[in-house]
Structures are given as C-alpha cells and as structure tokens.
C-alpha cells in the first residue's frame, strides 16, 4: 500500500475539502439507479445463459409441438396451432425468467455474503424492491421479445391489441419478479429456489394454457385452471395478439394487477422489517 508515498495530498477529507455535511447527505441522489444498473449488468454479462438459453428452449418447444401438432389442433377458431403457441411460449419465458432473475440474484448475494454491499448504503426498502423487480422485468422483457422476434421468422403472427400485450407482459413479469424477491429473501439454500421453480412455477406455467385453450379441457380442469394465476397472465397476453381469450382481458388484468399489489406489499413489509436480511 502506498499510504506513505503520498505527500501533501489528503487521502480523505472529513476535515478538509468535504467535511461531512448532513444537508448534502439528505439531498444526495438515490442509490436506486446504480442498483438497477448493476442488476441489469448481472444478467447481461452472462446473457448466453440468461437470455439465449431460455430463447432456445422456447424455440425448441415451438419446433417440436408446433410442427407435430400444426393442423391437428385449432385451440382458437381460425388460428393455427403454431401461431397460438407463440404468445404462450413468449409469456412463459417472460414469467420464468423474471422469477429466476430476482430470486437467483438475491439468493446468490445472500450465500456469498455480498448482500452487505447493498444493505450498507442508504437505499430505502422501496428503492431496493424497485431495482430488483425492474431488472428482473427487463430480463423477462428481453427474453420474451427475443422469442417473438425469433418466432416470426417461422410463424405468421399479428398483434391486434399491442397495448394489451404490453400491459400483460409488464404486469405478469412484475408479479413473477416480486415473487422472486420474496422467494430470494425467504430461501436459505439454492435448492429451495430450485424446488420452487420446479414444483411450483413450472407446473403452474405448463398448466396455465400455454399449450392449449382451457375450453378444450374437461369441466373440472377448466374450473381448477381458474385458480391458477398464470392462466390469467397467459390468457390476457394472448388476447393482445388474437383479440380472443378464455376470460375477458379486463378481468384478467384486474386479477394480475391485484396480485402485483399484494405481492409488492408483502415484499415491502419483509424489506422494511429487515426479515431474514437485517438480523
């Protein structure tokens, strides 16, 4: 270290050029933009794994199911099966990746102890939640967009109500990103996050109507599907593309918006109380 090599230049300045100024401390800019940027970089730096891999998975589904079932199934009148599949697969990717991003980021930094770097600065719990959720939504958005862009090379796709597509894309990813924050805070091991992904998120997305219309299901299953929150996200998202859905878009949007609000309140309460983060 070079402490003694320096001459005449103060190392640090509490009593010199910048005495500690409480008014400056109060009005200083927020740490939120940097936390958001760091969270964005975290997945972007490993985008082969966090973006390319899920896009490839979705395209494999499209290839296998689309080409084997095209012409045999017509879940919505006048819409080919492959076209029907694309919005569902895109939304599935959005949901899974939003959850994966916030949950794994928090979990990893908890396990490595580097969570202290974001707990020590003056970042409020609202800013904290917003940064993790928005970064996770961004990953979901990038993956979802990439799936749609890749798919339009093979499949004819029209977008009837782009605003609904955007609204459901944002709301759905917000639900899963917030859920990811909660799971990341609650979990103590990486296995627990994997268990939630494999035993909760995956079955709920697969059974939410990604691959079929609920109207093709027996009455009991149709009824049960209405208790799956992912169903509303996928159904509403698909409505944006085709203008046809199993449930009205306003009902779905209302359901998803209430979910975002409830989960956000839960996450904020956990962060404000320091639950499992500030011991």
């Amino acid at each position: 270290m070079n402490a003694e090599r320096v001459s005449g230049r103060p190392l640090a300045t509490p009593g010199q050029e910048a005495p500690f100024d409480p008014t400056r401390a109060v009005s200083a800019p927020s740490g939120f933009p940097m936390l958001l940027y760091k969270e964005w970089l975290r997945f972007w730096k490993v985008s082969v794994q966090t973006v390319l891999a899920p896009v490839l998975t979705a395209l494999m589904y499209l290839l296998v199911f689309g080409y084997t079932l095209q012409g045999r199934l017509e879940p919505l009148p006048g819409i080919g099966y492959t076209s029907f599949l694309v919005p569902g697969l895109a939304m599935m990717s959005v949901l899974q990746n939003s959850f994966a991003n916030s949950s794994s980021s928090l979990m990893q930094s908890k396990m490595q102890g580097s969570i202290v770097f974001v707990l020590l600065p003056p970042i409020s719990h609202r800013e904290f939640l917003a940064a993790y959720v928005l970064a996770a939504m961004a990953r979901g958005f990038v993956v979802g967009l990439a799936v749609v862009i890749a798919a339009v090379w093979f499949v004819h796709l029209e977008v009837r109500h782009p605003l609904w597509v955007l609204a459901f894309g944002l709301l759905g990813s917000a639900v899963m990103a917030t859920l990811g924050v909660i799971a990341g805070i609650l979990s103590e091991k990486i296995d627990q996050i994997s268990a939630i992904q494999n035993f909760v998120i995956l079955p709920l997305t697969f059974l939410s109507g990604v691959f079929y219309s609920v109207h093709s299901l027996p009455a009991t299953w149709q009824f049960a599907t209405h208790f799956n929150p992912m169903f509303y996200m996928i159904d509403g998202f698909r409505y944006g593309f085709f203008g046809v859905s199993d449930v009205g878009p306003w009902i779905s949007a209302g359901f998803v918006a209430v979910s975002v609000a409830a989960l956000s309140l839960g996450a904020l309460w956990m962060l404000a109380s320091g639950y499992k983060l500030r011991h």
């Binding site: 003694e4 010199q16 109060v26 200083a28 760091k38």
Partner: protein, 313 residues
C-alpha cells in the same frame, strides 16, 4: 462537537444468547478506538447494529448525531464499514465494484477518488481484474476501498487483519493511521492485541454483551497491568525484602519482580546493593494489553479466545 458514535443502553438477543446487554458507549470525532473482547462478546453484533445490518431490541445508536434506524440515510452516509467476512461479487471486476458502491451512495463521477483509493491500496494494477481472481489479501483491500468510496467521517473495521499476512497487515495499518490523521474516526476490532495497543487511543472491552472496561489505552495498561523487572544475580538469592515482589522465577535463576512504578526500580536496586548482591542481567518488562484483557475477561488465553472470532453472534 457531535460525538462520532453514541450508543445508549443497547440490547440485542439472538434466541437464548444475549449478544448485547445494555451497552453504553461514546466515541468522539477523530478518535482511534478499539473494541476488544473474547469470542462471542458482542463486538460484531455491535458493529452490525451501527451499520444497520442488525436491529437492536432496545436502546439507541447514533452516528454523527443520526439515529441508525430513524435517520438511517444520513447515518449510513456517515459510516464506512469493512466487514469481517471476505465477501465479494464474482460477476464484476475491482473498478466496477467501486463504481457500483459509489452509485449506491448516490455518487456519480467518482473516478478520481476511486483512482486515488486504488493507488493508496496498491490495487491500480488489479483494477480490471475480476474479483474471483484476486488473492485473499487483495479482496480485503477491495473491501477497505469499498468502505471508503463515499468518504465517510467514521470508519469501522471489523477484524480487518484476520487471516492477512504480516506485510499487508502493516501496510493496512499505515493506511488506516493515515486516515485517522486526516480526521477520520476509526473504530476497530482486532484479535491482535499488540496492534490495538499500538494504534488505539481508547479501548472498550466487551464481555458477554457488556462493556467491562472503557478507558484510554495508557490508563488501562496502568490500571490493570504493571511493569516488571526480570533479573539474574551473579550469586546468592533474593533478599527477603524483595521476595514479596517476586511473581515468577525460572530454572535459569531469573526472578521476575513487580514494580508499582518506575521509581520502584531504584528501590529494588538499593535493596540489592544493601545486601551486597550484584546483577548479572536485567530486563524491563512493559505493561501488556493481553494481561489487561485476561484480567478483565477472565479468559485463559486472550489470543486464543479472540482468535476464533467468526460467527460470534
């Protein structure tokens, strides 16, 4: 002047363990303050409460006059904490870590100060190296740099030299001493007692979540420890008048005698002359913080007890 740190009646319990049991402490601006205590004494818990990493059950803690809970934004801006664990984010390189940490404190365009920190901590050559590729000592320096990005007036170092080689330890202390000279308040915990003795102006000793001693290092040494003289006589035995002072004797014929103060030395020499005894070798033993530590905390070996400081909550 506002106290750098003011702690009042701080209590914190983890399950059955009373980690902090009514701690009162006031540290003035510009002090170099040592926090010592055996394993589980509550040092890390106290630092965690100050840093906002833990919530106290009751009592209050202020940094530069700001309550760490109510005015947490100002309090956290006023303090830089070097954590005990060697933590890092494997996704990023050294400079990125420092840019992020600056940004978390709302500081943009901090490049000049980051360059200066990298220079002072001998990290310039490693600025673009991923954190994963750094040695333990390098990672420790990055932690120090991260704690200083926002130029905090109060710097808290929790066992910063644990597991660090001798060279880095000395370099680190030179750097920290320099920060103190520049006006920063330094609070440190260390299990190298000789370091605390050399660096700290005042020391608090914690035991089972309570402050058992709080005084200047000099006073602690004077009060709880004493000076000794170890001598070997050319021939003969100690005169009876000096036997009461004897605290130890070894097989080589060396006697250790307690001195109440340095003037006592003359009395010892006088007694020896009166008895016609000649001294072959003589050595003055300085007061030792480890002795104070052992007396106050009742531990068998202070170095040993304080060595296993991890997970002391």
């Amino acid at each position: 002047m506002t106290a750098a740190i003011r702690i009042a009646q701080l209590h914190k319990r983890y399950g059955a363990v009373q980690a902090l049991d009514g701690v009162d402490l006031e540290i003035q601006q510009g002090e170099f303050f040592g926090l010592l205590g055996p394993n589980g004494a509550g040092k890390t818990t106290l630092i965690s409460v100050l840093a906002g990493l833990a919530r106290a059950d009751s009592g209050s803690a202020q940094i530069m006059g700001y309550d760490v809970v109510r005015d947490y934004r100002q309090a956290r801006r006023a303090v830089g904490v070097v954590p005990q664990e060697l933590v890092f984010d494997p996704f990023f390189n050294v400079r990125e870590m420092l840019v992020f940490q600056s940004g978390y404190f709302g500081i943009r365009d901090n490049g000049d100060w980051i360059d200066e920190l990298l220079h002072h901590l001998d990290l310039t050559a490693k600025a673009d190296t991923n954190m994963r590729r750094l040695s333990g000592g390098m990672k420790r320096r990055v932690l120090v740099a991260q704690a200083l990005v926002h130029k905090p007036p109060v710097i808290v170092l929790d066992e910063p030299t644990a597991g660090v080689d001798v060279e880095l330890r000395h370099a680190l202390w030179r750097f920290v001493r320099r920060l103190n000279t520049d006006g920063h308040t330094i609070v440190l915990t260390t299990h190298y007692l000789e370091e605390a003795e050399g660096l700290c102006g005042r020391i608090a000793m914690l035991k089972q979540g309570r402050v058992v001693a709080l005084d200047t290092t000099q006073n602690l040494l004077a009060r709880f420890s004493g000076s000794y003289v170890r001598l070997k006589l050319v021939a003969g035995d100690l005169p009876p008048g000096l036997r009461t002072r004897e605290t130890a004797a070894d097989s080589e014929g060396r006697h250790t005698l307690q001195l109440h103060d340095y003037a006592d030395l003359e009395r010892v020499m006088q007694e020896l002359r009166n008895s016609g005894l000649k001294v072959q070798e003589m050595e003055l033993l300085q007061p030792d913080l480890e002795e104070v530590f052992m007396k106050l905390t009742g531990s068998q070996s202070a170095q040993h007890a304080a060595a296993g400081v991890h997970d002391e909550r």
